[in-house]
Amino acid sequence: MKRKSQDESRLPDNTAVKQQQLPAFRLQLSANEILSGFFATGVFCLGMGIILLLSAKSISEVEINYTEKCASCAKLREDATHFDKECNCSISFYLPQKMEGNVYLYYKLYGFYQNLYRYILSRSNIQLVGTDLKDVRKCAPFKTSENGLPIAPCGAIANSIFNDTIVLLYNFNSSTHIKVPMVSSETAWWTDKYVKFQNPTYQNLSSAFAGTAKPPNWPKPVYELDEEDPGNNGFINDDFIVWMRTAAFPTFKKLYRRLHRIGNFTEGLPAGSYSFIINYNFPVSRFQGQKAVVLSTLTWSGGSSLFLGLAYLVTGAVTLLASFSMMAIHLKLKERKTFFLQS
């Protein structure tokens, strides 16, 4: 028995892939190219750093930590039985220079772990999108109320919502206190507000949530979050959506309100004396957390964080330094190297 392929040639194909002869570009950098690359990178980083720092410096920001200042309220809140008692706290401050343009009001939490594994999971996206309010499978440990009703919105995230109310007063003079106009619209991502969070389709929101319980920490059910504005009520409440977008780190700030630029505040916040009236509901002292309010203006590069600017600046400086020392080493040791090769 002879093989059939005997007469036909078994010569492998002469293709570039099979013969490993693909046309290729061989990347090789000379010393000069590398050194100039280093140099250019250094200059770029340095420049970028300076730009970022300058733009961050142009921002004015006021941060007031009210953990200490509202110690009495904090004390009250430590005891859960006093949940129905109101506690207000007023913090005055002086704005030496006006804050121009859009002004944003944030609340900032220290030591609050929104990124714990079980915490992040403890939500029901199916519920929040309005399709099935009864779906609380993933919401442990806040799935159902004591009487067995599914909680809406369920889960640890929703339950722990930041529920202090912050009002900014402009002390026009010692007697006139004007409430600074603030709006909560456009504080959440568009996709969250209009896609990810949807109320169940019912004519009446309260009847839509019939058969569900409010989260245990909440003083009122979700359909009463903002009874004045139906576009801000229920699951599509901006404060709620902002809270539900969990922070990556235990210290975070979240957008609370934007300055409504009308009347006295068309230009921004004028310089002068202000006070925050804080309705203190959110207990943080148990786990040594801290709370703060932040007022800030913004530029193209976002907030007042100096990190990127500094990082670029340092990287640039180090790179420049490195490129100079590399050049020195290169010039010095080149001789030695050729000697070695010859020997």
Partner: protein, 1126 residues
């Protein structure tokens, strides 16, 4: 015939394959992980993060296994088709006890007791090249009782003898047994047995009784155990995976401790917002759970796709070998073949090559190359004249395959030069060749040694055609005229005499003795009158020898009738004497073999395969040591060793070990070592003092440097002593110091033992190359077995890992394919480990900010796809297409091969570097994005520090950095200021893979985070809108760029500075600075006088057979005139 049947069928494939796959540690580990993930209390990742990759990996491996199995099936099909035509059954159905018929030129595939044959006296000629590398014919003879049956099928089928014999063993030259037939016992010995692997020659048919089949046959018993070969990198990988396990375990432990502390300090008080689970009673318990949770999260450090990627890379690089046109051998129509796809990178690390001689280094063709007749040299200076073949058309009986280039010889023949005629007459008479003339004028010579065949063929072409012989006559066609010479005596060859003679009576009634033999012996027997001719001829012989040719001297003597009668009487007396017969005969022989008249000398070329000396020179330059292990005799082996540059004339000394007992062999080895390195016998020698500590058996003997270049020749029987116990280290140390080592007269098993010895104590990669069944054992034992295919036997090829048809392809296999495979594999491994460390360790940093709660940084889908989709193609592109230097450079600078031998490109040190690099990268990749999002907002005031945006930033930075890293990374010692990035070789495919992967990532991102998908499965795809909202942030891109700069610059800087600070000889660029040298050309030139001995087989010749008349064809009418003497 051991037909390998396929392992799987359609039904059992899935369960069996899965079972096999889960036996692998890594796969079992991932199965274990999967079960861990199913425990809700500790599950920290969605189940699909493990299931999807595991499924992909398993199915790729399953497909590969299925293909392998099919290929194997196909190969065994080929083996089956090779088997011979048989009376009724296929070879695979042959069983012990069957009687089978074998025909001429068939390969025997079982050990068979010869019963009868077509030839008189039931002689059967066989060729045993497959077994021992000798190509001469051997004779087997059936015992008389069975030979009477001839081809009478009735008798044969009624044959009811009973054979009792030894149990299967590996002794090729011994067999004992008893045949009980018709109430009588007949002794059976080795002469009755035809072994598997032999080829029937010159015999029309023969019948035999199958004694051993399949694995019981002597060849198979010799071929050693077939073991599953794994590469050094495989072993290293297993060790590293173990290290990673340990690292993983300790990491998880630390994180669990961290969790414990956190729960105590923070978590306990955070219970208002996140109460502990019911089953968590204390923070210790919680920490225990977290240990396993982190074990799941950090599992990607043990890369699931590592093994499958490695297999794909090896498969790809194996295909390159199959596809290589430059390893395709046109005349035999055979491409190179990678029969194993798991050993590629080892080809780049070979340190020792063990080569067979016959059929591997040589073509096994003897060519009559030159001769010296009566002081005249013919065949010299062939290259100076035009390479035109001599026209032999005047001779109708000429062999068309024979070629000769010197016209003067033909002219001399035509002119009727007396000496030339006598010379060729002597060649046509003085031999034991048997001729066969099936078709009128088409002579086929069956020579006992190929040298003889070459000489007789030469005489035939020059017009002295040996046509046929009987036991008393030799028929020669002399220049067209038929003459019959009476054969009076054959004085046969043996190893001591090193010559043979015939005595013939010419038609003119002269009695002539023709003698040919080793020059050293023959020149002592010459008549004094030949003095000056002798000197001239000796000069010529020196020339021949220095050309690497095998030489013989030819002489004659005219005897007067009375003297011959007298001698003849003495001869028959000696033959009949019972005591000391051998000795007496040789004394009688010596009486007549003297006062010879010198005719001339012949030079025969044992033709090497093309390019063998050049290949060996190249391999030597690559610091690969080549040992020749041959079953052939010493003289021929040494001759070939010189011819192909294994031994050189410049060598300081060549040691010969031929002791017959342990002491002499040990002494010879020691004295050789003392010459090479005098201190190596002192106790102070580091190796000695190391051995004195009696290290545990798997130890490594360090390399020792001799003070010159030496060669070693060792014989099979000495080797048997040397391989025993305490001498094996002596042997190894001595042999490894020599530049070339020749082991001759080796049995197949000894070949394997030598390879095993080097493997055991040198811890170097060994490669065995051979073509015959006698090489199978060493091919199996060596790390890499290479079979020379396209020869008649398939045994070596079928057991090899790589097969091609020419020895010279070895350099391409090693220096080009091996080197590339090794480099690619190393680059792949370091990159692969790096990318997984950088990927996984980010979670560890994040643990410090997420309460050690086993929170991952990335989206679960990113974890699922990272290794399989996002990063697999660039790295595959790197490891399939990268060429650090092109093939021309690899071949011209064999020195580039060296780093592989020392495993410089990937070892434990490199691994630690990868780990550190990975830690650094993960640090940058975590903290730069963290700083960026921390306390930062977008320009419309919304915060960007949410978990999902952070995730996206980190994973995008990671992917950019890791993809950039494909372009950069480790390169061994670059010339000052010149670095090449990791992918130094950018083909279109690399571009497509790299940029395509990155682009693909963004496409997938938008798909996974799209409204539709997320709304359809809100709980599985949670990252709705993150891509849209985050990818347009300037901060994000600034952070990605900064991460890239910070990850890349140190690497580039390190590569720039490394060669400046550690100016190791940079191989690549050092080489490249010089112009391309010319390809190596070697010339066969040897100055020392080195004569090859008489190149016959080490066995007795056919002389006795011829004179006894047994060789005569049955068809000859004289059949009955030769009584059968037992």
């Amino acid at each position: 015939l051991d037909v390998k049947t396929s392992k799987y069928n359609a039904l059992n494939f899935l369960p069996m394959n899965l079972f096999e796959q889960f036996q692998r540690l890594a796969n079992a580990y991932f199965l274990f992980l999967l079960f861990l993930q199913l425990i809700p209390q500790i599950s920290s990742l969605a189940w699909y993060t493990t299931v999807v990759p595991l499924m992909v990996v398993l199915s790729i491996t399953a497909v590969k296994d299925a293909i392998d199995d099919m290929v194997k099936c196909w190969h065994s099909g080929i083996q089956g088709s090779l088997s011979c035509r048989i009376v009724t059954e296929k070879w695979m159905n042959v069983q012990v006890g069957d009687i089978i018929k074998l025909e001429n030129n068939q390969i025997v595939t079982a050990d068979i007791l010869l019963l009868s044959s077509s030839e008189p006296y039931s002689l059967t000629y066989i060729e045993t090249a497959e077994l021992d590398g000798e190509t001469n014919l051997k004779v087997k003879q059936a015992i008389s009782v069975t030979s009477e049956m001839e081809d009478n099928l009735k008798l044969l089928s009624a044959f009811d003898g009973e054979v009792r014999c030894e149990s299967p063993n590996n002794k090729l030259d011994k067999f004992t047994g008893i045949l009980m037939y018709k109430g009588k016992n007949y002794l059976l010995n080795h002469d009755r047995l035809i072994l598997r692997g032999c080829v029937i020659r010159n015999t029309d048919w023969c019948y035999g009784l199958v004694i051993f089949t399949g694995p019981d046959t002597k060849v198979m018993q010799n071929s050693g155990k077939s073991t599953f070969k794994r590469t050094h990198i495989d072993h290293l990988m297993n060790v590293l995976v173990l290290w990673i396990f340990l690292f993983l375990g300790s990491m998880c432990f630390l994180l669990a401790v961290g969790h414990y502390i956190w729960e105590n300090n923070k978590g306990y008080y955070f219970q208002d917002y996140l109460p502990w689970e019911d089953y968590v009673t204390s923070s210790v318990f919680s920490a225990t759970l977290i240990f396993w949770s982190y074990f799941i999260i950090l599992n990607t450090m043990v890369p699931i796709s590592l093994y499958v990627s490695v297999e794909i890379i090896r498969l790809g690089n194996s295909f390159y070998i199959n596809w290589d046109q430059k390893m395709f051998y046109e005349p035999k129509n055979t491409p190179a073949q990678a029969r194993t796809t798991t050993l590629n990178e080892e080809l780049g690390q070979v340190k020792y090559v063990f080569s067979d001689k016959t059929g591997t280094l040589t073509q096994n063709i003897m060519i009559f190359n030159k001769c010296s007749i009566n002081g005249m040299v013919y065949g010299m200076h062939v290259f100076l004249f035009s390479l035109k073949k001599v026209d032999f058309s005047y001779n109708k009986l000429a062999d068309p395959k024979f070629s000769f280039y010197d016209k003067t010889l033909v002219e001399a023949v035509k002119k009727g030069n007396h000496w030339v005629h006598l010379f060729f007459l002597s060649l046509s008479l003085c031999h034991t060749v048997i001729s066969e003339e099936k078709v009128e004028g088409e002579l086929v010579y069956q020579a006992q040694s190929p040298d003889e065949g070459a000489l007789v063929t030469a005489a035939r072409n020059f017009g002295f055609v040996f046509r046929s012989r009987t036991s008393e006559t030799i028929m020669v066609v002399e220049m067209g005229k038929m003459r019959i010479y009476q054969l009076l005596a054959i004085l046969d060859f043996n190893n001591v005499r090193k010559r043979m003679s015939v005595i013939v009576r010419t038609p003119e009634n002269r009695i002539l003795l023709f003698c040919k033999g080793a020059d050293t012996i023959l020149c002592k027997l010459l008549h004094p009158s030949c003095g000056s001719l002798k000197d001239i001829t000796m000069d010529h012989l020196d020339d021949f020898a220095s050309d690497g040719l095998r030489t013989l001297m030819v002489a004659y003597r005219e005897l007067d009738s009375a003297f011959f009668q007298d001698w003849s009487k003495k001869h028959s007396e000696a033959c009949l004497s019972l005591e000391n017969r051998e000795n007496k005969i040789s004394i009688v022989y010596e009486e007549i073999e003297r006062d010879l008249m010198l005719l001339g000398a012949t030079a025969i070329e044992d033709k090497l395969q093309d390019g063998v000396p050049e290949t060996i020179l190249t391999l030597n330059k690559a610091k690969i040591k080549i040992w020749v292990l041959t079953g052939d005799k010493q003289e021929t082996a040494v001759n070939i060793a010189y011819a192909c540059n294994i031994f050189e004339d410049e060598m300081d000394e060549i040691f010969i070990v031929e002791g017959n007992n342990d002491e002499t062999v040990g002494g010879e080895l020691r004295s050789a070592r003392e010459k090479m390195k005098p201190d190596s016998l002192l106790e102070s020698d580091p190796v000695n003092s190391y051995l004195a500590t009696k290290p545990q058996p798997p130890f490594k003997i360090p390399e020792e440097v001799p003070n010159g270049s030496y060669g070693l020749i060792i014989n099979g029987y000495s080797l048997a002593h040397a391989l025993e116990g305490n001498l094996e280290l002596e042997l190894l140390r001595t042999a490894c110091m020599c530049k070339g080592v020749i082991c001759c007269r080796m049995t197949p098993l000894q070949k394997a033992q030598v390879v095993e010895l080097v493997k055991k104590y040198k811890k170097a990669v060994t490669l065995a190359i051979g073509d015959g069944a006698n090489d199978v054992s060493m091919i199996k034992v060596a790390h890499i077995g290479v079979g020379i295919s396209g020869q008649e036997g398939m045994q070596a090829m079928l057991n090899s890992d790589y097969a091609f048809s020419q020895f010279r392809y070895l350099q391409r296999l090693l220096l080009v394919h091996g080197r590339w495979s090794y480099n690619r594999m190393c680059k792949f491994l370091s990159y692969f480990f790096y990318k997984n460390f950088a990927f996984t360790l980010v979670h560890v940093w994040y643990a410090f900010y997420s309460g050690f709660s086993a929170q991952t940084v990335y989206d679960t889908w990113f974890i699922t796809f990272y290794n399989l989709v996002y990063t697999s193609l660039p790295v595959l592109g790197l490891s399939l297409f990268d060429q650090d230097v092109n093939e021309t450079w690899s071949l011209r600078f064999p020195e580039l091969y060296e780093p592989g031998q020392h495993n410089l490109y990937f070892n434990k040190k490199e691994f630690v570097k990868c780990l550190l690099h990975g830690i650094y990268s993960s640090f940058v990749l975590f903290f730069i994005p963290m700083g960026t999002v921390y306390n930062s907002v977008r320009k419309d005031g919304k915060e960007i520090s949410d978990y999902q945006s952070f995730s996206l930033i980190v994973q995008t930075s990671l992917l950019c950095v890791v993809t950039m890293q494909v372009l950069s990374g480790r390169e061994e010692g670059k010339e000052g200021g010149k670095i090449a990035l990791e992918t130094t070789y950018w083909t279109m495919i690399s571009h497509v893979f790299t940029w395509g992967s990155l682009g693909f990532y963004f496409c997938i991102l938008f798909f996974l985070y799209s409204d539709g998908l997320c709304l359809f499965f809100p709980d599985t795809f949670q990252f709705l809108g993150v891509a849209r909202n985050t990818l347009n942030l300037p901060q994000m891109w600034l952070s990605v760029v900064l991460s890239m700069i910070l990850c890349m610059l140190p690497v580039v800087g390190y590569q720039f500075l490394k060669p400046l600070f550690w100016p190791i000889i940079d191989r690549i660029h050092h080489c490249m600075r010089h112009p391309l040298p010319y390809p190596i050309r070697t010339k066969l030139k040897h100055t020392a006088s080195r004569r090859s001995a008489y190149a016959f087989s080490h066995k007795q010749g056919f002389g006795a057979l011829i004179t006894s008349g047994k060789t005569m064809k049955a068809k000859l009418p004289k059949k009955n005139s030769f009584p059968y003497k037992r």
